[in-house]
């Protein structure tokens, strides 16, 4: 059974979501403030954290920032609809995806599944185990990335994005394809999620702006060999 930690200050909403997601096959533990979220999220038995940004005591973004310093557990951000800045900051801080509130619970369940699929530690596809481009080594089975033999911490989504780009190193990967393959959804206009993930990967792999992963305007990305 997949265990989800749901941090939202709306107690009634939480209890209803608990019931709904239980029907979808998830065990949900609901908490209602940022401090509890901070301590609970570090516990290993949770597979995913659904994090509301407007939380009492400690802001959801701060919870995420502190969490990312210690682990790469999948996080889905719930931002208030229209607060684009919040979702961008959330992605920048290493969230795997975001949803605007109020959201359709069916969509929420689908997004959770998509993130969990990426986070599945064992890849089902029979592929070469290690992809190596220059200094970067990507181990598909263990889902680990090494830069000059040093382990780099990536979130599940970042790993998936990097994996797709490295498999196609030297070729342009269409933005829409990348969105479908890595995020399990079609690219919508002004959706900055992919850009944010790419920018996080660049930072973590110490790539200069257009070095390593190149942005091809209006088309997609290119991992330079």
């Amino acid at each position: 059974m997949t265990e989800i930690l749901l941090a939202d200050d709306d107690i009634e909403l939480c209890s209803m979501l608990q019931t709904y997601l239980a029907g979808e096959g998830f065990t949900v533990t609901a908490i209602h403030d940022g401090e509890t979220a901070q301590t609970e999220a570090l516990k290993d038995h949770y597979d995913l954290l659904v994090l509301d940004i407007m939380l009492p005591k400690l802001n959801g973004l701060d919870v995420l920032k502190n969490l990312r310093q210690q682990c790469q557990k999948p996080v889905l951000i719930l931002s208030a609809r229209g607060d684009d800045i919040d979702s961008i900051v959330g992605l920048e801080l290493g969230a795997d995806d975001y949803l605007s509130k109020p959201c359709n619970p069916r969509v929420l369940a689908a997004r959770i599944r998509a993130i969990l699929r990426r986070a599945e530690s064992v890849s089902n596809i029979e592929q070469i185990e290690v992809i190596k481009v220059d200094d970067v080594e990507l181990h598909t089975q263990s889902r680990r990335v090494y830069l000059r033999s040093q382990l780099i911490e990536l979130t599940a989504t970042e790993f998936t994005v990097l994996e797709i780009l490295m498999r196609n190193a030297g070729q342009i990967v269409n933005k829409n394809t990348l969105s479908v393959d890595a995020l399990d959804r079609k690219l919508t206009r002004y959706d900055r999620s992919l850009d944010m993930h790419i920018s996080n990967i660049r930072k973590k792999l110490c790539f200069a702006n257009n070095d390593g992963i190149k942005t091809i305007r209006n088309v997609g990305y290119l991992y330079v060999r």
Binding site: T19, G82, P102, N104, P105, R189
Partner: protein, 439 residues
């Protein structure tokens, strides 16, 4: 005015100190001339001649009040002496009797005429002395007066009107929505009524700003608060769906679609409010107008106009036109206009989107062939929740904020928007101008 009056008075005072006023001087000269003539006549033709001269002079020069008085103070032609002359003779004549007499006092002038036999006669005349203030009115002084008072009035007018002019500009800024507009410190520090007005104006602007801001916060808070129950209803709806629903599926579907509408409305409201509060944090990048328009048209056609007989949207735009702006905001702004045009234009007709540019501006026009809008509503359609007619709005599925968002977004980009009915054909044109991107 007072200062200029004093200046002129001082100047004339100074002049009159060292000279006889010119008019009096003129009379004096003329009369002196006449007395010489009289003396000459007296020498040549005696008293009879003098009387004749007097009659001639009175006729030719039309001098009514010319008198010749002998040593005893008697008028030669036995004319009665008017009181002022009499007074003059009584005072002056006694003093100057037997002494050379050549004096002028008040408006009476007297000259001594000596006959060859040494008998003295006195020629006395009066004239109407002009009013003392009339002495001010020489052309020279009038010009000086006009120039001096003009300069002073100009300075005074500037002193009074320039702060009012600035106050007016500030008031204009305020009315155009710049709630930060305040009067300058120089105007506020004046110790007169204008200074008071400037202070009151600022007080008013502050109150206005506080009120508008609290209104905005209220609207934002309400919208935020509305979303919580909405989120709960949405989950409750999905929970209801997991149960036995065959009987109520259509109702559930209806609830869902109404929920979506409520959601959209709140979303639009928040966008509108947030544009005001977050306008300083908007991200600006160069945007290719043609690309933007194509995206909007793609979306509009995809969502609204899928049937083949539906209207067309034609774009006329050069490849290289760019504006600096926020793509999401501008997309939304133009999308609202194009969707509107697409909605009102009759099926099978064309919506034309044209973009031209010059050095400073980019002009966009969106033309439909729909019924247009009553003239008095052309301005108002850009205000929130203003409906042209109830039936129209209901069909469009809009909430009446779309064009208000458009207007604000365009204004935030430094542009203008206005709507006009087409002169000849039916239909409406919406014109948008935006400042060109200068890199």
């Amino acid at each position: 005015m007072i200062i200029s009056g004093i200046a002129i008075a001082w100047y004339t005072e100074k002049l009159s100190e060292d000279e006889i006023p010119p008019l009096l001087k003129q009379h004096h000269q003329i009369f002196q001339q006449q007395s010489r003539e009289a003396e000459l006549t007296l020498k040549q033709s005696g008293v009879a001649g003098l009387l004749q001269w007097k009659a001639d002079t009175q006729n030719t020069h039309a001098i009514a009040r010319l008198y010749i008085v002998d040593e005893h103070g008697m008028e030669l032609s036995h004319q009665p002496l008017p009181p002022d002359i009499q007074r003059f003779i009584n005072s002056e004549f006694n003093i100057h009797f037997n002494t050379p007499f050549d004096s002028s006092k008040d408006s009476v002038l007297g000259f001594r005429v000596v006959a060859p036999d040494n008998i003295r006669y006195y020629l006395v005349t009066t004239f109407n002395r002009p009013h003392p203030l009339l002495f001010l009115l020489t052309p020279q002084r009038i010009i000086i007066g006009i120039v001096v008072s003009g300069l002073i009035c100009f300075a005074l007018a500037r002193y009074l009107s320039s702060p009012i002019q600035r106050l007016r500009q500030t008031a204009m800024q305020l009315s155009q929505g710049n709630l930060d507009a305040r009067t300058s410190a120089t105007a506020r520090n004046r110790n007169d009524e204008i200074g008071e007005l400037a202070k009151d104006f600022n007080f008013m602007a502050e109150r206005l700003q506080a009120m508008v801001n609290s209104q905005k916060h209220l609207m934002r808070d309400i919208s935020h608060e509305l979303r919580s129950p909405l989120a709960r209803i949405q989950v409750a709806l999905e929970l209801a769906r997991t149960k036995e629903t065959t009987l109520i599926e259509s109702e559930l579907h209806r609830i869902e679609s109404e929920l979506e509408k409520l959601n959209t409305l709140i979303d639009e409201l928040l966008t509108f409010v947030r544009m005001e509060t977050d306008k300083d944090n908007i991200e600006w990048i160069p945007i290719n107008v043609k690309e933007l328009l194509e995206h909007i048209v793609d979306d509009t056609l995809f969502e609204n106009c899928q049937s083949p007989q539906y209207n067309q949207i034609k774009i006329h735009c050069a490849e290289d036109i760019e504006v600096a702006g926020n793509p999401r905001l501008l997309h939304r702004a133009l999308e609202n206009v194009i969707r509107n045009a697409c909605f009102y234009t009759p099926i099978g007709s064309t919506v034309a989107v044209t973009c031209t540019s010059n050095n400073d501006n980019i002009m966009l026009s969106i033309e439909d062939e729909g019924p247009g809008v009553p003239e008095d509503m052309l301005e108002k359609i850009f205000e929130p929740f203003v409906r042209v007619s109830k039936s129209r709005e209901k069909q469009s599925g809009g909430y009446g904020i779309g064009l208000a968002i458009t207007k604000r977004a365009i204004e935030i980009h430094g542009g203008h928007i206005h709507a006009a009915n087409k002169a000849s054909l039916t239909g409406m044109t919406v014109n948008v101008s935006l400042p060109a991107n200068r890199g």
